[in-house]
Structure formats: structure tokens, C-alpha cells
Symmetry: C2
């Protein structure tokens, strides 16, 4: 199983180290976790890994394209290892859980902004906000904000 990760690292000419393999394994088993959780997960197997190493590894893997960094407004950075398959995220406003969502519309219309202001676009990122099933049933009576804003 770690052989896959080793191959991934070598494919982007990154050195194969214990912390890097551990981070990749942690992200495979726990998608959408924040840095602190990654540190805890990695230390479960390798107690001596420094927090700085995790930050370095996450940055290196992100730069190499092996993991993706996501950061919904008002939350700390989270990482996931599912990359390159054009998917988006649903975020629960009350508990913060994140779930994957495949693109709603067909091929790649999201790259077509109505007016790109001369920007050269290379990616369109979509975040759906709402309430997860648990939080929805937990407060059936009131909707404190009651906002309803489409795209």
C-alpha cells in the first residue's frame, strides 16, 4: 500500500521519506482534515515527527499536485488527496463537515466566466454551503439565518 505512495512521490521527483508516506496515508484514510489532525494521525504511527515536518510535507505535496489544499471561508486549511478529477465540496455551516461533490453541470462550463476582466483562468472552484443531514434534523424548528443565495 505504501508502494503506491512511493511511486507517486517519485513521479514528481520528491524524495521518499517516512513523514511523507505517513501524510499520504493519513489523507487517504481521512479526507478533508486540517493540519492539526494530520499531525495527530501521523504521530499515531510515528510519534517523533515534528509539526514543522507536517507543514513542510503538506506544502511540498500541494506544490507537487499530489494533495489539494482547501480553505472554506472562516475555517483553517484542510487537505485532501483526491486530485485531478474535477470535484467540488459541500460545507456544513454549523458543524463544518465537508463532503465531495462531482461537478453539477456538464463538461467544463464553469471556466467560462461572464466577463473575465482580461484574466487568464485556469481553474474554477465551487463551494456549496448548507446544512448537513445531522445538523438539519438537529434544528428542525428554526433557521437562524434564513439566507438563500444562489450562485
Amino acid at each position: 500500500m505504501t508502494a503506491d505512495f512511493e511511486a507517486q512521490l517519485r513521479a514528481v521527483s520528491l524524495r521518499v521519506t517516512r513523514p511523507r508516506l505517513a501524510v499520504l496515508a493519513a489523507l487517504r484514510d481521512h479526507p478533508h482534515v486540517d493540519t492539526d489532525t494530520v499531525i495527530r494521525l501521523v504521530r499515531a504511527d510515528h510519534p517523533t515527527v515534528s509539526h514543522q515536518a507536517i507543514y513542510d510535507v503538506l506544502r511540498a505535496l500541494t506544490d507537487a499536485g499530489l494533495v489539494r489544499r482547501i480553505q472554506p471561508t472562516g475555517a483553517v486549511a484542510r487537505y485532501e488527496s483526491r486530485v485531478g478529477d474535477n470535484h467540488h465540496h459541500v460545507v456544513c455551516r454549523s458543524c463544518g463537515v465537508i463532503a465531495d461533490v462531482d461537478c453539477a453541470v456538464g463538461s467544463a462550463p464553469c471556466l467560462t466566466a461572464s466577463d473575465d476582466h482580461g484574466f487568464v483562468l485556469d481553474e474554477a472552484e465551487v463551494v456549496y454551503w448548507g446544512a448537513c443531514p445531522d445538523c438539519t434534523t438537529a434544528r428542525t424548528t428554526s433557521d437562524p439565518q434564513g439566507r438563500k443565495e444562489a450562485h
Copy 2:
């Protein structure tokens, strides 16, 4: 001109104070600024306003729906006063400038995720990533990352 802001505040039953009027004026004149810039802008007219007041005001206005908080991955929080008109943003990867973009597709398809996992969605937020005109011309030779990922 401040009369408008006063009316806006009263409409959401917030008390009318100098710091709040100043923040609203600053955001009207400078969209997409971060908290620190808001502080500087406000202090240009009202030097005694504390940074804590700005944070409180921005939170109050955001909760009330008068301003919107945006936070592209890897950047500090920014605020804008244009709300309720369903628009998105283009962010330059190299210099960080933000521009407004009206929704690409028709009415409100973005609220329709392919699989909502039981979430009750209330908003879809889109961030377009790319290079602004200035940064595009500045580095015509190389594209260091070369990533190309559609939605």
C-alpha cells in the same frame, strides 16, 4: 452619502455609530480589502478607532448581511459591500487581486449539485483562479505551474 449607510444599519436594527459608518464607506470605495486595510482606511478619517472595533463591526455587518466576507485559499479574510446580487470572484494567483464576475450560467443552476449527500444547500460560491492582465504580461515566457483544472 452617510445617510444611506445610516438607513442600511437601521434596516437591520444595528445602532448607528461612527466606526460602522466609516467601515461601510471604506468598503464602498475599496471593494475586496482585507481587515488591515479597512483599519487603515477608517483611521484616515477617524484616527482613534481601535482595531478591535473594526473586527467587531465587520463581524456585525457580516452577520447582518450588509457586507460579505470572502477568503480565497491561502489569503487573509477580505470584505466587500456588494451583497445580494449573486456574483462571484476572479482571483489572481500571483498578485492576489480580486475582481467581480457575474454568474456565468443562466438563472441558478449552481445550487444543483450532482449529489448533495443529503445536505440542504443555500448558497453556491464560485472562485475563478487565474492570472490578471498585469501578471500575464509580466511573465510571458514561463508558466511555472502550468496547471489546468476545470471545475
